[in-house]
Amino acid sequence: MATTSSFTTGKISAETIGGNGVSLGEKEVKKLKIKRFEPVEEPQIHYLNAEKGLWSWLSTVDHKRIGLMYLAAIAVFFLIGGTLAVLLRTELLTPAKTFMDADTYNQIFTLHGAIMIFFFLVPSVPAVLGNFILPIQLGAKDVAFPRLNLASFYIYLIGAIFAFVSITTGGIDTGWTFYTPYSSSTGGNVMMMTLGVFILGFSSILTGVNFIVTIHKLRAPGLTWNKLPLNLWGLYATSIIQILATPVLAITLLLLTMERALGIGIFDPALGGDPVLFQHFFWFYSHPAVYIMIVPGFGIISEVISTFSRKTIFGYWAIALSSLAIAFIGFLVWGHHMFTAGQSSLATMVFSFLTFLVGIPTGIKIFNWLATMYKGSIQLSTPMLYALIFLFQFTIGGFTGVMLGALSVDIHLHDTYYVVAHFHYVMMGGMVMAFLAGLHYWWPKMFGTMYSEFWAKVSATLVFVGFNVTFFPQFIMGAQGMPRRYYNYIDQFQPFHVTSTIGSYIMAVGFTIMAIYLLHALIKGRKASANPWGSRALEWQIPSPAPAHNFDHTPVVLNGPYDYHRPMSEFQMGVADKKH
């Protein structure tokens, strides 16, 4: 199995290993007796087949399997949300009714937004890729609380069930923002949906709790904070936002439910309440939530760009700390969604000012990634292709975000398709691309197989073209004054809408191809090697697919994950005498 070329030796005392009170930094690690363990190619037993049967999946506490179950759930929601989007686009082909009536349209865009955000994008990277990769990147056998992790998956499912009940018993037509007093007075089953999202929030919170503790407490020997893969910095910052912001969403939705059930009057002007207060409550969560949706993507992009450039990441600390900076400042800008809502001019000014500050750390990241590519050895594999698409599209989305932060301009652009285009550029064009980059990047580790590189590139191209054809015209018609959430529109906007709809069809074709080649890879893909990308990171030093307990030998981390100038042998270190 493992080559045993002893690398460093030293005395092991109970203290140094057992850890009682001593943390294993660089110095202590030197004292460990460590050996080189090359990963096994084509393992016979791995986490996918270690146990068999449906029940072994449903009751698993293995973070990798939980990650895959999330992947399945999220894929379903993306399909539903995306199909709804295509229906929306088709309806918008003509200025008046095309094939559905106004109430249906309103329900569909609400569901599209709510599903895409709460059920797809917020859990996408943390719960799928984070769950799968975080413990492995830490050199741990699992997350700190594996049972809690499984519980959070089921909580997610329960939330989803509530949402489905809501859809089948009247649906909701409030928009994903649930603004009062519309949401407290409209028909339909708003309560069910808010309860669903409320429950979902706990799933998100538990994942956050789990990740924070795991990152703090379960790092492998030698894995000090300055060697933490940037993906983990991203997930760490995300978890912080999740635990600080999600509870406020929970209380908001609870108050909204009570508003509908008992008419508590806090938000309902008919009872003396203040609807703008609801917006504060809502955005206090939902703005940070947009960073829940993008910061883990930043982590993935850092990994991918460095791996496929075979080069040390440029500005490690700048990238790591800017994630935390974004997380922090992101909490203070929520009012930029309310510039026209009737908040005080003072608050408006403060929010606008703070909004601009978020752009700085984000820019730092972009420039550091570019600098990482400089003088690299760049290979344009699918994950890298998606990362570059991300760079392009996210930058556009980010810049238009800055545009929206500019007060006088936002007065004109607020609630037009310019905003719709902005957030699709950051969410679909940014985060979904980052998610796809990560999915293609870690796919071999997840399933032990390779997908077809050719079809992957075809699909990426179609998605890229389709995306821009769909959403770029929306910037123009938005600036022209086309309001969002409009079922009918005036004739002058039709050419833009038609172009946009055609784009969405191209995208759907792209995603269909993706679904096919990924399923094909799943069933009879070519076997992947343990480290197909030649990466130095810890997760690539174990077999593909990963073993049931991640590491057969407690790994020891001597170098940073991006130290491409060091020989591979220095990255395959484990404690010599302990074996599971």
Binding site: N20, G25, N226, V248, H280, Q343, S344, A347
Partner: protein, 113 residues
């Protein structure tokens, strides 16, 4: 974040958890009872407007501090857990503060007719 961050977490020594003596627990408990009595007493004296709430909240803060530091053992615990608590308070204050920037400073136009 320094390069040797563990040291901040590795505050208290070796394996021993802090064990408070029974007397100490009762001492804190008594202090809390007394403070409750004081704050109710002050309430019945009726001191003038802004001060009554300041005193009441002040006493509550002291009480909360006692509970958190000595019942929840934060005083002897890893500093990171204290940091968590401080962070949650900081974010609460930001939530309150910034929202008040709006709600306290709205000037409504008066309709002319």
């Amino acid at each position: 974040m320094s390069t040797a961050p563990h040291s901040s977490e590795a505050t208290h020594s070796e394996h021993h958890h802090h064990v408070s003596s029974a007397t100490f627990i009762w001492l804190i408990g008594t202090a809390l009872f007394v403070l409750t009595a004081i704050t109710v007493g002050v309430h019945f004296i009726h001191i003038p407007a802004p001060w009554n709430i300041i005193v009441a909240i002040g006493v509550a803060v002291v009480k909360a501090f006692l509970v958190v530091a000595f019942f929840m053992n934060l005083y002897w615990d890893s500093k990171f857990n204290s940091l968590l608590l401080v962070m949650s308070i900081v974010f609460l204050v930001l939530l309150f503060g910034i929202t008040l920037l709006d709600t306290l400073f709205r000037a409504d136009p008066i309709p002319a007719f």
